[in-house]
């Protein structure tokens, strides 16, 4: 709409802005003016309604202005403008397709303005806007409506959750999704739900229900949207939360700046805002963490849902979903199966035809398969799958990447259901650890170490390793039977027990008693607990000890007490106490008793807080410490360590580790830059590296030792080389030839 030029005099005359300002300042005195404008509005509306589609630009503009004015002053004259909201609603509902875009936006904006002035309530606004959002054909209009709806939902939930409104909207969305399964309109329900879920406005089961219904739709877009929500919605939510808590404001800095710079109202305002923000953040910190369940956990009847998904989108031959969509749905189904331990037997046989190296994006299919396995899946169902993977992927003839993928997939499956493996196959596969390709070698080693833990009998004797052999001979290690569950415990409880024990010892030492006396210890413990009931009471005093605790924690981070026994004995050697060796058995028994802490005592809030702290410290230690590396890899293989069960398995996990793949240029550059020292001083790279190494107290390499060796000391060997007899020389040369034919010291492939 090109605005007609307005003459200067008229501009003063027809100044809506100033009139609006005056009316808002003093509504009573300007009532006459307002009434005149109201009549004008009525007249314009009448003119407009005679031909809404073919209205001239002038008419549209003047109507636009009138709506703007009335909307801004509507709250001053609620009685006179009673009909205004209904007019607007009628206009936008009936004519949104044909209205002039600017006028349309103005009407919607005015409705939102009325909502902000609380002339109308959210429900009526949203029930007006939502049908238009769904049916409108204009992209900009939909975008705007979506924004407005979203912001209104957020605003009305900002102070406290507006349950009635949420219920209404959720019902609308649910109906939208279920009313017509094949229409793409449901995409708006998905978008809205996802956005509100992300911002934690909706956290209950109802939106999950909406998404669940959307997953079972017929429209591919809708299916993809809803499936993506289940696969990534919660992560998105967490990320957003982290992001919002990240930005810290340095109040001191802001204050300091104010003293230096020119004082102005703007700065004062900025300072006030900063203070507000800091206060808000502090308040947020002290608030209890909101218990937000993930969408997958809030599902009602996941078994039925997973079955329906599988039958509708995967199993039949009728469905026409693209492979990408199918993969997404498959991911969701298997994730549900793995997470809730569901039983869908046809799922596993369905996989068979996809398990070939030629299959497109086979790695994510393999990942889905592994994800869908849990310890209650019958091994009979999995055995043919593993056999097929082994046959198709793992052979000398196949490329090393393929073999690595196959081995990794088998490992992931077996880590969830170890009974699915047969002895001969396992022994065959384990032999790939001699492979020259690093990926294959690592994958085979992973499989080996897994079975050392979960099924050492199936391995050949020499492959079992020390721990497993000892465990088997002492009868401590047994393969778990089908359906057998591990004895559960509270994660990190042993850490707490250990800490308590140390505290007790320290106290006794302070009193001058022998450290490990047991008389009256129970009373003491009780006393401890009594004053340790409040969290704050012993929170700050422990700051000195927690390094101590860390030290002990890495010995104890394995929750199952059975397996640890041998290790415990070995670890205890490092401790200073001489007589500990003899007491190792007692110590273990004592710890086990303490681990039962939860069953014998009531954990106080202070205990729980300490437990949290210890757990965090242990995880930090685990992430940093080199000593626990071996055990950590075992944990990875067991999948009860760093990765949580809620996180799904991705194709990345199945593929070879990133270092072994062919790198892209960016990755190469990043890798090259990684090791480079910063160029503060102008030295050679090697010199800087060496000084760094020295500073860290690390030893030199063999090559370096060789190079640094005194010249005179090397003379002897050099001479003897010349003096070698023919036979000796022949031997050396033969050895060289033989090595080269076999493929190096480590032999060529198996």
């Amino acid at each position: 709409m090109v605005k007609r030029k307005v003459a200067a005099l008229e501009k003063i005359d027809a100044d809506f802005a100033s009139l609006q300002y005056k009316i808002r300042r003093d509504p009573k005195s300007y009532k006459d003016d307002f009434l005149k404008q109201w009549e004008q509005y009525e007249a314009q509306r009448e003119i407009f309604f005679t031909s809404p589609t073919t209205a001239a630009a002038d008419t549209v503009e003047s109507f636009h202005n009138m709506i703007d004015l009335i909307a801004h002053v509507a709250d001053c004259y609620p009685e006179e403008t009673r009909t205004f909201q209904d007019d607007l609603k009628a206009i936008v509902a009936q004519h949104h397709e044909t209205l002039h875009p600017e006028l349309r936006d103005k009407v919607v904006g005015s409705l939102v303005l009325l909502r902000r002035k609380e002339v109308i309530d959210s429900t009526s606004l949203l029930t007006t806007l939502f049908p238009i959002l769904v049916s409108s054909r204009s992209k900009s209009m939909r975008e705007m409506l979506f924004q407005k709806i979203l912001s209104d939902m957020r605003n009305s939930n900002s102070k406290s959750t507006n349950h009635p409104l949420n219920r209404t909207i959720q019902a609308v969305l649910y109906n939208l999704v279920t009313a017509d399964r094949s229409s793409p309109r449901a995409i708006w329900a998905i978008k809205l739900t996802r956005e509100l879920w992300k911002r934690q406005v909706w956290t209950d089961a109802k939106p999950v229900d909406v998404m669940k219904e959307a997953c079972l739709a017929d429209n591919e877009k809708v299916i993809v949207g809803a499936t993506r929500f289940f696969l990534g919605g919660d992560k998105e939510r967490e990320e957003l939360e982290d992001e919002s808590s990240d930005e810290e404001i340095d109040l001191a800095k802001v204050k300091h700046q104010i003293t230096i710079n020119k004082k102005s109202r703007k700065q004062k305002e900025a300072y006030r805002k900063a203070v507000d923000k800091v206060k808000k953040q502090e308040k947020k910190k002290s608030k209890p963490h909101p218990l937000n369940f993930s969408a997958l956990h809030l599902l009602h009847d996941p078994q039925l849902f997973a079955e329906q998904l599988f039958e509708k989108h995967l199993q039949g031959t009728k469905n026409k979903l693209s492979l990408d969509t199918k993969l997404l749905v498959l991911q969701l189904v298997t994730r549900l199966v793995g997470l809730h331990k569901l039983t869908i037997v046809p799922l596993y046989s369905w996989f068979i035809k996809y398990l070939t190296p030629k299959q497109q994006s086979v790695t994510s299919i393999l990942a889905s398969l592994a994800q869908g396995v849990h310890n209650l899946v019958p091994p009979d169902a999995l055995e043919p799958l593993i056999q097929k993977i082994a046959n198709e992927f793992v052979s000398e003839a196949s490329a090393s990447e393929v073999a690595a993928v196959g081995l990794n997939a088998i490992r992931e499956i077996c880590s969830r259901q170890s009974l699915a493996m047969t002895e001969t196959l396992l022994q065959d596969l384990v032999q790939y650890r001699k492979s020259k390709d690093k990926g294959v070698m690592m994958a085979a080693k992973g499989l080996l170490s897994l079975y050392r833990e979960v099924g050492a009998e199936m391995l050949k004797k020499r492959d079992r390793g020390k721990d497993a052999t000892m465990g088997l001979s002492s009868g401590m290690m047994k393969q778990r039977k089908f359906g057998e569950e591990e004895i559960g415990g509270i994660e990190g409880l042993d850490l707490l027990a250990k800490w308590k024990e140390e505290q007790r010892k320290r106290k006794r030492a302070e009193k001058g008693l022998p450290e490990d006396g047991s008389d009256g210890s129970d009373d003491e413990k009780d006393a401890d607990e009594d004053d340790g009931w409040e969290i704050d009471s012993d929170d700050s005093s422990d700051s000195g000890e927690w390094i101590n605790v860390e030290h002990s924690s890495d010995e104890e981070d394995e929750p199952a007490p059975k397996k640890r026994k041998g290790e415990n004995a070995a670890d205890d050697d490092e401790d200073e106490d001489e007589d500990e060796e003899a007491n190792a058995e007692d110590e273990a028994a004592e710890l086990e008793r303490m681990t039962k802490l939860a069953t014998t005592t009531i954990l106080t809030p202070a205990d729980l807080a300490k437990l949290q702290e210890l757990r965090a410290a242990a995880s930090v230690q685990k992430a940093m410490g080199a000593r626990t590396r071996k055990r950590q890899t075992n944990n990875d293989a067991n999948n009860n360590g760093t990765t949580h069960q809620d996180d799904g398995l991705t194709a990345e996990n199945i593929e070879a580790p990133i270092r072994l793949r062919k790198l892209t240029k960016e990755e190469k550059v990043a890798l090259a830059k990684e090791g480079k020292p910063d160029r503060d001083e102008h030295k050679s790279t090697q010199a800087i590296r060496k000084s760094k190494k020295d500073a860290a107290g690390k030893s030199t390499s063999n090559r370096e030792k060789q190079r640094k060796k005194n010249f005179l000391m090397t003379l002897g060997k050099a001479k003897s080389k010349q003096k070698r007899s023919l036979v000796e020389t022949r031997k050396v040369l033969r050895g060289h030839v033989e090595r080269s034919t076999r493929g190096g010291r480590r032999r060529n492939g198996t």
Binding site: D13, D15, S29, E46
Partner: protein
């Protein structure tokens, strides 16, 4: 860093001022681009070539479109003047018909330029009355919009148009849907006679107008209102019934533009304001209920102010007395009761 003498020389060159000489062309700048072009032919996409001048019909239509949609106010005024001259010639030339002409030109009532509005009024005056009658409904809408316009000039000029409409079609004006009540309320609002319940206390919002010009406008408004009321409240004389007309009402084809308007078969539901008030009694009734009090109060107030407005108010008072003198608030059913029932 150019160290050699040659390089230094080269550098210097950049900063040397070009020397202009009399009688010689200005040296071209270094970044000069030659934009001239040569072409054998110039092709034009569309062109209307005709040997004859555009005929009258074409010209009329062209001017009509100029008047209704040109951006320049001078052009609009000139186009209106042309149309006026065409319409006032003998016989009047009007190829599009009065109805379409009006629907195009009525939005100009709220035009921002004064010459255009005055020219429009002149044009309206030359339109044939019989044909203009049929556009009453449309016209009154734009007049109402004009009367309540924020700009005082426009609302003043639209009174002139109102006068024209009263001259042309006063009977239609008061009987068409919305014509009676809506127009009355527009009058009341523009004059500041508030329709809502009176504010308690002595002081009312002072009329922002004590200037001479506003007083003049007020007088004009009152006099036109009195004309309007006169038209609406005039006593009707029943025509002598003739048998021919009686049968015609059953079997004859209706002559008016929208004969079954009162049935409102296709429009939206009307409220009290948009209702038709076809006879005097109905008009009296609704006037008494909604406007009598504010109007009488307003009259009192203006009378006290005196001057031209006071004189006009006396006239209005007289009209009111004539029109409402024989009215007695009846307890009978009226349209409003029926509407409330619905």
């Amino acid at each position: 860093m150019g160290s050699s003498a040659r390089k230094k020389q080269e550098k210097k060159k950049d900063f040397q001022k070009p020397k202009y000489k009399v009688g010689k062309a200005k040296p071209k700048a270094s970044n000069f681009t030659d934009t001239s072009f040569k072409s054998k032919a110039i092709v034009m996409n569309q062109q209307s070539l005709s040997t004859a001048a555009p005929d009258v019909v074409q010209q009329f239509k062209h001017n009509l479109s100029l008047a209704s949609s040109s951006r320049s106010d001078k052009q609009r005024r000139d186009a209106l003047a042309y149309l006026t001259s065409q319409l006032s010639s003998h016989p009047p030339i009007n190829p599009v018909g009065t109805n379409i002409l009006l629907s195009k030109l009525l939005p100009l009532i709220s035009d921002s330029s004064t010459p255009v509005r005055s020219q429009l009024l002149k044009l309206l005056r030359v339109l044939p009355e019989e044909e203009a009658k049929h556009s009453t409904e449309q016209a009154i809408m734009f007049i109402r919009a004009g009367m309540t316009h924020l700009s005082a000039d426009i609302s003043g000029d639209s009174l002139g148009v109102m006068e024209w409409l009263l001259d042309v079609a006063e009977d239609e004006l008061v009987t068409i849907p919305g014509g009676w009540v809506k127009t009355l309320s527009t009058f009341c609002v523009t004059m500041g006679w508030s329709l809502a319940s009176t504010v308690p206390g002595w002081t009312s919002a002072a009329r922002s107008s004590l200037r001479a010009k506003d007083a003049q406008t007020l007088a004009r408004q009152i006099s036109i209102l009195s004309r309007f009321l006169q038209a609406g409240l005039r006593s009707e004389t029943a025509a002598v019934p003739s048998s021919e007309e009686y049968w015609d009402s059953f079997y004859g084809l209706p002559r008016s533009s929208n004969a079954f308007e009162y049935l409102n078969l296709f429009g939206s539901r009307r409220d009290e304001e948009g209702e038709m008030y076809p006879n005097r009694e109905a008009r009296q009734q609704v006037f008494y209920r909604r406007f009598f009090e504010p109007v009488t109060k307003g009259i009192e107030k203006v009378k006290k102010e005196g001057g031209a407005a006071g004189r006009a108010a006396v006239g209005l008072d007289q009209v009111l007395k004539d029109g409402m003198g024989d009215y007695a608030a009846s307890a009978g059913m009226d349209a409003q009761d029926l509407l409330n029932l619905w």
